[in-house]
Assembly symmetry: D2
């Protein structure tokens, strides 16, 4: 389903080529002043059309806040925001699924919804549905920033071109600030040219390319989260896999731990003044599902955009035979740059629940 959360529930709605998309956020604390401009900034980071790396479609993703706010302050009632779909070109698509696009949810959605799902532009499976996720995340992050918790993500890789990783024990405040406003977020900004060239090369060859996003959450006090199924890893991953194209997630040293010895991987504790810290942070700020007070760090793998304009083999479900397909329309050859703020938003939505569940909001 498109509803998620315990103390703070989000309910995402909309289809790519329908009237609009949006979100209801239920359970927000009251009295939280929201800087609406800052919400727009986050949405602009995700919006397409900023440069050659993204789709040239122009979307005016101005959310219309229907409820839950008075004088820019949360009332405690459910906050609903609707974003109209204005620049849809339905003629690009019909609604009878003939040839499912490889790598898309066309085929699985067709079976799941018996052919009644809106397939235009991917319908409810469209990456456009990440706009309300960014909106909800932007609301949650303002509430959390007020409590000293900050979010920053960057393009960890595009194809084989890798950015630096976060230093997991020391993430400079300036870096967090810079990344949280960036539209092509990198720690090592010298990698931007190479990444953009690779993306452009993929576009030129009618192809696309995958990548990775790394996210850090700093300022989370020790003791948030719960054992077993409500651990921070469980909660974050249950939101992050809600972002289309994510095929993997890892926390701290992640898959690298499978190759490590205990003596390497164990993070030793020490006192930094009054505070217990760890000298290394292979645990990614989470032990037993619960925050240690160290930065929470995770990476998500994004597959290459499935919409490529070279010819592909598929089936024709009407004719019951194998077929060839050429996808028209304009698509990002790499969604990773635009996915960065979506991952931050998912992290904020997860953390607002994790903290509320332990009475720390």
């Amino acid at each position: 389903m498109s509803s998620w959360g315990s103390a703070v529930k989000i309910s995402i709605f909309g289809e790519s080529h329908g009237k609009g998309i949006g979100v209801v956020i239920d359970g927000l604390p009251s009295g939280e002043r929201l800087d609406i401009e800052k919400i727009y900034v986050q949405m602009a980071r995700r919006a397409p059309g900023k440069d050659k790396t993204s789709t040239p479609r122009l979307e005016k993703d101005i959310p219309d806040i229907i409820s839950g706010i008075l004088d820019d302050t949360t009332t405690g009632a459910p906050l609903c925001a609707v974003i109209g779909n204005t620049n849809t070109r339905s003629q690009d698509y019909g609604n009878v699924l003939s040839c499912p696009r490889p790598g898309h949810a066309d085929f699985t959605g067709n079976i799941r919804y018996k052919g009644f799902n809106d397939i235009r532009g991917g319908g409810h499976f469209s990456g456009r549905l990440t706009a309300p996720i960014v909106f909800a995340g932007a609301v949650c992050r303002q509430i959390l920033e007020r409590r000293g918790i900050r979010f920053a993500a960057h393009i960890a890789s595009v194809g084989n071109i890798e950015d630096q990783r976060f230093d997991p024990v020391a993430i400079p405040r300036e870096l967090v600030e810079r990344l949280s406003l960036s539209t092509f977020g990198l720690i090592d900004q010298t990698k931007e040219t190479a990444m953009r060239e690779l993306i452009e090369e993929c576009r030129m060859s009618r192809d696309s390319i995958g990548g990775m996003v790394e996210c850090a959450i700093v300022g989370v006090p020790a003791g948030a989260g719960s054992p077993m199924f409500d651990g921070i890893e469980n909660v974050i991953s249950s939101v992050v896999f809600g972002i289309p194209a994510v095929k993997g997630i890892e926390f701290g040293a992640g898959f690298e731990v499978s190759r490590m010895r205990g003596s390497q991987n164990n993070d030793e504790f020490y006192y930094d003044g009054e505070t217990v810290k760890t000298r290394t942070n292979h645990h990614g700020g989470i032990l037993g599902g619960i925050s240690s007070g160290m930065p929470i760090i995770f990476r998500a793998a994004f597959k290459p955009t499935p919409s490529i304009s070279s010819e592909q083999s598929t089936v024709d479900l009407q004719k019951h035979e194998n077929a060839k397909l050429v996808i028209n329309g304009r698509h990002d050859p790499c969604i990773v740059p635009r996915a960065v703020p979506v991952v931050e938003a998912a992290a904020a939505i997860a953390m607002v629940n994790i903290l509320a569940d332990v009475n720390k909001l």
Copy 2:
């Protein structure tokens, strides 16, 4: 929390050195005949003491089924199973946490529960709590096997020693059968010696080693799962991260997709008789959160056992100073072989819910 599920809810309880551990499974379909012996087989696969690679403690993990079954058949009422703790040696530990063990949940649990959690043997964070997960999974898998759905996992790697991967488009029935009963599950069984030697080497050097488990779910019909937050990836990962020591999960080609081009990663559809299949399976049987009918494949990364017997640095929370710690007691230098049936169980618990949610149970 230690409760999870929608249509079929599990509630895990117990602490390592308390009276017992167990699980309540609520929402099981009625009239399902359970082969109790087969449940024991699954629990024996996880049980320690089978050989040198695991802890020599003897546990008699015979579950006492309190309710929910009559004549070995589910009644539809909640099924509760209790496993007594018999071989506990509480003198190994006290309950006032002085020096948190690196890599364990001692420190975070202490903050979370204000020092009241049972720390003996890790308490509720103990790996022993995977026994009721295996029990619950063994119940769910029998129900699913009756519907043609099978689970098989193997040791994908121990340190740098890797097993073969599943062929994601063709997983032989015999392999599934063999792995689902194995206590040291490998596709390429010639790797066993090297893996055991590496594990033994770690034990000898008072160290431990991580690894990876790969799991396949075959026979899931196309159209199970839901978009966004109830996708199969979300649901499976929210259970799998409930297994202690898991730090990452990936589906299909997983993190490898971040380096791939769309033309490589997209799995082309074709008709195999009446059935739509894909020629490759980078998508791991899941598109848009929904099953495609191809095998569902995922890998989980396990960190090395944090309990190592060499001296480690930590803090003394009583004295508020840095300290040294030597962990006594007997611990698995590598939990991966015993984690294999736990991962299968987690997958079965996830899938029984996914199928029930779309009325396919």
Copy 3:
């Protein structure tokens, strides 16, 4: 919270004098053709301004369906409907709560939301929020009607004037049809005049009056619902108490059972052809939380409209002293007639979940 449901989740949003109100319905089956006109008919039954018994404010409660429907057919994606607030007169109210109105949620809402809730027109506590409940119920009932399940409610009483009760073992199809379209629903229509006169008398004396709504659900197959906390009584009451002003609910013979003997109250089974029925229906179609196949019958008690125009004693929270209050504005002296379709809607929302939970949708 304002979110509810398991298989089919509703999330209600909006405040009386904000931009709008609405609902997201997540989890609807796909392929359900909706008669939009029939939805409007249900909303019109609840809408004020139809006659002297209700508030003269004109609301154009035309819901704008944003998502989830294509060609009037459910796509399976979340259905969102927004109803704009057009005829609000904010000057009637300010947003700093000085004197809480007796019988309203002004005081409790103020404490709960630390003074940040939108108090204009009752904000999120307003009876206007029943409009999206009726919308959601109208969608659910069409889906259920297609499966042979029908809903009918009537004004069981206004003050001391009582309508007939449903014959709990035989509810004529024509009665169900008539009531489900009625705006002043009565079994014995001769009571309308007396009821209207009583309501008018209350208006004239600057007072208001309570009443009761009785609802019948016919066509539910035996075997829906679950024991204990997911019984039909639990589920229906958890929705019905979401309707403002409800202070009690009873099923079947209800509170009368407290005065009955077992020999009277027990409903004897018999075969009506192939079908097991009961000769009486004190159990209201529910035994052990599960449907028996007999009509499900319940009654909800509504308190008199707390907004009365005679002077009342209250406190002044600003001045910290006792105070007098006169409520201006126009209010229904009796909400019961307009509550009838809301109760039916609540029943439909409950039943769509109950049936989905047992795979009967």
Copy 4:
């Protein structure tokens, strides 16, 4: 289902004639010292065999606490308690349902579980399952009593014999204390003889009798609860209808409000020192779903025990024909006295969640 709760989840298991019954309580705050004797006292209040008004079966309902407690103090891990079934006489019943008992869940359970449910003694539908509810409630109430919240219920009526009602604005502390330990709880203790005589008369005439329980919750601070579907009425009723035989619930003036005018029903606010109170309490301590700080008061109607020993008409599901049935065995002619502590327990389970959800635990 038999699982319930948000911040604090309970999962009830067991069947009347199986190995045992019990409960898992997940999400309890850590560090709560529990007086185990006081828990036994609550369970003894519910236990049968105390006198002629209840069934002569002797149950040793000593709960075995498996987990979640160390040194009588909650660890924060799930608390599981198992109560063995010792005095079962399975020969009284078989497990193939031939003739469903009128008023019982035999028929509906049979349909729901396709004949696989354990029907011996009512199985999971048995009133015996209220023992773990009382256990869970006894744990929750100790936690709440420490925060100044107290629970008291009494036999409001047996048949037509009525006890006094609580004075809803002033409930003496001594009365609360007395009732919370009583096994035949009455405000006006002079009614005991008449009530017992009526119950005995019903037994002698092979019949049974219904009644009502009234419950007060005092000390709840204003501002607990949430609007719409998480209102205090919704939450309490969703637990209370989990008690077998409850057919109605009302809060404050309850059904009486349907006959009242607004000027009567509205409770005027006033300052009692610094505290805002109401002079009357028709609202039962709840406005808009949220606590006002006044005592929370509700009444639940219990149907007469359906097990009566006079001959009844029913059907024979094996032979597909109408039949006669005589129920043997020993049954309470009136469950109301034993239901009193169960209602208090349900209220405590509800309130611990309501308070946790607003961070007031």
